[in-house]
């Protein structure tokens, strides 16, 4: 099973900290700076999971999830949303788009890894 994770966030600090946490737990990962960049990486590379921010330029998280769910390669992989607010509105919009779950920012590395492990199995 592919446990390589694509981390999508327009904030370099968030990308880096997620990536460092994943590195520590041994999950290979790759970063993308926005939804558009993520789609390009998804089309050329193979991932077992996506962790994405919502508010991003070019293509936001909702848009990315919708597109990813239409691609064969990513139709059934877990997609976690990194949100700054855990409002029901964001959750339900995320669910409607096809998100698997959410992580609330600012997050702690252990929390993130717990969720990743839970979803990725």
């Amino acid at each position: 099973m592919n446990n390589r994770i694509l981390v999508v966030d327009d904030s370099a600090t968030v990308r880096q900290s997620v990536s460092m946490a994943l590195d520590r737990a041994g999950y290979p990962n790759q970063q993308a700076v926005d939804g558009q960049d993520a789609l390009e990486k998804l089309s050329t590379e193979s991932f077992g999971m996506i962790i994405t921010d919502i508010n991003m330029p070019n293509l936001d998280g909702f848009g990315l999830i919708q597109r990813a769910r239409k691609m064969d390669k990513t139709q059934y992989i877990p997609i976690l949303v990194l949100t700054t607010e855990s409002s029901d509105e964001v959750k339900s919009r995320g669910k409607a788009a096809g998100a698997t779950g959410w992580i609330v920012k600012p997050f702690k590395a252990n929390q993130l890894l717990k969720v990743v492990k839970m979803v990725l199995g």
Binding site: A12, R24, Y76
Partner: protein, 708 residues
């Protein structure tokens, strides 16, 4: 906290602060612009969040207060005022200082700024960073005796479509303690209703664990709303034998029935000895191999953080990139020598290797140079604040409009461009734009505008600073130039010449320069900086309508594609980007008109220069010359040489002081055989030619036309 993360944050912060500042300045112009309020808020929000992640706690805490303020602005309870903008700009500087060194700002300073900010709020919110989620994480798991739960879980039918494998959740659950699992299939009534991607599984799990109901519930957080989830505590005495209970109760579970207290007691009575306190109970996992794999993975990661990093992007210091470019330069030079040697030896194998090396070198060069390309926009944003402050200082009302921020240029070029462009901006505010009252008297909008734009044109990038001010004072320039003997009385100067004049050292006087642009630097410094970047400047101006300074820069500094030519025994390189075509010219066809050599090319007359004459090279001119036709900003000019040798990847070396002032040369390069070739500065040669024609009083207009 990791240094890498802090460094990343500092870099990111520059963009965020630029964005914040951009939003604030926009807001100052149009206080009701909700998009700008959002922009400011988002920037602050990200600064706070990312700052906290990177371990800048004081920075995050301080930013939080500013963010709270803008939350009120967003909700409409605080109005946008100049006090708000000024305070927030101050806060921005504080954030900057905190990022550089968290201890650099005293607690009093922060407290006083926070107090000022708070003064703007209707009611001071003593806000605390939302720790709801993290608090729960920190909460120690309920430690106590082991409890046994019956968990019944039917995931939503569309669970796979949301990318979640419910089996993973069940597996996680089994890892919480000792567990028994049964999965039942809840098939649809008819085959017609069957959907292959739908999930029709119902799980029954009996779990003995030290954890609580909430911990179990947490696992199902993503699906709890849509799932059927039952978590029943059956026993908390720790005396239940799991295996026996499982055997006895499975039929009940499958029927959806909870065992009664009597059922529980009867199992305990069967085997009345407590389950030993266990740290690692033997767990029956659904797929042991998968668990093994997970363990392996964890072990691997312990020993090899580096290995896991491979796929992620890597940050490198820019000096290392510079070093890389230097090395590529050396490689290109060595490769040229290899090519030369292999041609001389004419060994087929060697030639093949040489060709491959050449191909790889080219690819490597392009790749490395492209890594160094960055958008110019970040530099643009920095100017916004400076323009604002300067305009205030001078009592002028100015708006800065930028475009083309995504135009990419070599990093070094961008860094070194910042000062000269800032100087041009200052110049425009100070000298170009009139005072508000003068503007309204002239029937112009009171607010002056400065347009800063960048765009790519062929192998160059053009950066323009255009103001709508009073325009250049040609009379004054003429007077001054004649005074300095740079212009003969009555001599005409075209607009290219204007830049030459006003940017010559000592041209401006203190009388014409105010405190701002007169801080020891004149346009001659701009000219020097731009020419060091192998760029050129053009000025366009019309009285009363404004002035435009157009800076033309090469995309990259280090290596160019050149055309290698020979004159006598000397060799020269011309930038290939400027070369349009090469014409063979029989000496007998030469036509001279008004002292200029002219060439007929497809019904068009193109003047050309004899470089041999230009550089005073002796020897016999061959009967058939090669004339290289260059396109220089729309002008066509030919350069006659003895022979065209071919394309040459030119690693540019700067000339020593002795040669630096020779017009027409821009650098030198080392050829394959180790000898030197000089790089020609074609625009400078053209200017030389034009000024000469002007002096002859026989200016033949160079043909202008558009080229495809």
């Amino acid at each position: 906290m990791s240094d890498i993360l802090q460094e990343t944050f500092r870099e990111e912060l520059q963009e965020l602060l630029a964005d914040l500042e951009g939003g604030l300045l926009k807001l100052e112009e149009s206080p009701s612009d909700s998009e700008s309020v959002n922009r400011v808020f988002r920037a602050l929000h990200t600064i706070k969040g990312s700052g906290a992640l990177a371990g800048f706690d004081r920075l995050a805490g301080f930013t939080h207060h500013v963010e709270a303020l803008f939350e009120d602005v967003r909700s409409g309870s605080i109005e946008v005022s100049s006090v708000l903008i000024d305070l927030t700009l101050q806060a921005q500087d504080t954030i900057q200082a905190l990022a550089a060194d968290e201890d650099s700002v005293s607690q009093q300073d922060i407290a006083s700024l926070v107090e000022h900010l708070g003064g703007l709020q209707v009611d001071i919110i003593d806000a605390v960073v939302s720790e709801e989620e993290t608090a729960r994480d920190d909460m120690p798991a309920t430690v106590g005796s082991h409890s046994t739960f019956w968990v019944r879980f039917r995931p939503p039918v569309d669970v796979f479509e949301r990318g979640l494998d419910p089996a993973n959740l069940v597996r996680e659950l089994t890892r919480m303690g000792d567990a028994r699992v049964s999965a039942g299939y809840d098939a649809p009534a008819s085959f017609e209703d069957f959907e292959p991607t739908a999930c029709h599984v119902v799980w029954n799990i009996l779990l003995t664990t030290a954890q609580s109901t909430i911990d179990i519930q947490d696992l199902f957080i993503f699906v709890e709303d849509e799932s059927e989830l039952g978590i029943e505590l059956l026993d908390d005495s720790g005396r239940l034998n799991l295996e026996q209970a499982w055997q006895a109760w499975l039929p009940l579970f499958e029927a959806g029935k909870k065992p009664t207290a009597e059922d529980v007691n009867s199992i305990i009575a069967q085997n009345d000895e407590p389950v030993p306190e266990h740290n690692g109970p033997e767990r029956r996992s659904m797929t042991p191999d998968r668990r093994q794999a997970a363990t392996d993975r964890r072990q691997e990661s312990g020993s090899g953080d580096d290995a896991a990093r491979v796929a992620a992007s890597v940050r490198v210091r820019s000096e290392r990139l510079d070093k890389l470019v230097d090395l590529i330069g050396e490689l290109v030079t060595v490769q040229a020598r290899l090519k030369q040697v292999s041609t001389t030896i004419s060994d087929v194998d060697l030639e093949r290797i040489s060709e491959e090396v050449e191909q790889l070198t080219w690819e490597l060069r392009d790749e490395v140079l492209s890594i160094r390309m960055v958008p110019i926009g970040s530099t643009f944003n920095r100017f916004a604040r400076q323009v604002r402050d300067l305009a205030r200082e001078l009592g002028k009302d100015v708006q800065l409009l930028t475009s083309g921020g995504d135009t990419e240029l070599d990093k070094t070029v961008i860094e070194r461009l910042s000062d000269p462009v800032l100087h041009l901006l200052r110049n425009a505010i100070d000298h170009g734009l009139e005072l508000p009252e003068q503007r309204s008297a002239a029937g112009k909008p009171v607010k002056g505008s400065i347009r800063l734009s960048a765009f790519q044109s062929g192998a160059s990038v053009l950066v323009e600073v255009r103001d709508d001010g009073r325009g250049l004072n040609y009379d004054w320039i003429r007077e001054r130039a004649e005074e300095k003997g740079m212009l003969q009385p009555g001599e005409d100067f075209n607009q290219v010449g204007v830049w030459e004049l006003i940017s010559s050292a000592g041209f401006s006087t203190s009388e014409a320069i105010t405190s701002i642009s007169g801080r020891g630097v004149g346009l001659d410094v701009v000219r020097k900086a731009i020419e060091d970047l192998r760029g050129t400047v053009e000025v366009e101006s019309s009285s009363g309508e404004g002035t435009c300074f157009r800076v033309k820069l090469p995309l990259t500094l280090a290596i160019i594609d050149g055309l290698l030519v020979r004159i006598g025994r000397e060799r020269f390189v011309m930038p290939l980007a400027q070369v349009e075509e090469i014409i063979e010219q029989n000496r007998t066809d030469v036509e001279r008109q008004h002292g200029r050599d002219l060439l007929h090319i497809r019904d068009e007359i193109v003047p050309y220069l004899h470089l041999r004459r230009e550089f005073g090279i002796n020897g016999r001119i061959p009967d058939i010359e090669q004339v290289i036709i260059a396109n220089l900003d729309g002008f066509r000019l030919g350069f006659a040489v003895d022979e065209v040798i071919g394309e040459h990847q030119t690693v540019i070396k700067s000339l020593g002081r002795m040669y630096r002032d020779i017009p027409g040369l821009s650098g030198a390069t080392v050829l394959g055989d180790g000898s030197l070739a000089l790089i020609l500065d074609l625009p400078a040669l053209m200017r030389l030619e034009e000024s000469r024609s002007r002096q002859d009083g026989n200016l033949v207009p160079v043909t202008t036309q558009t080229f495809s």
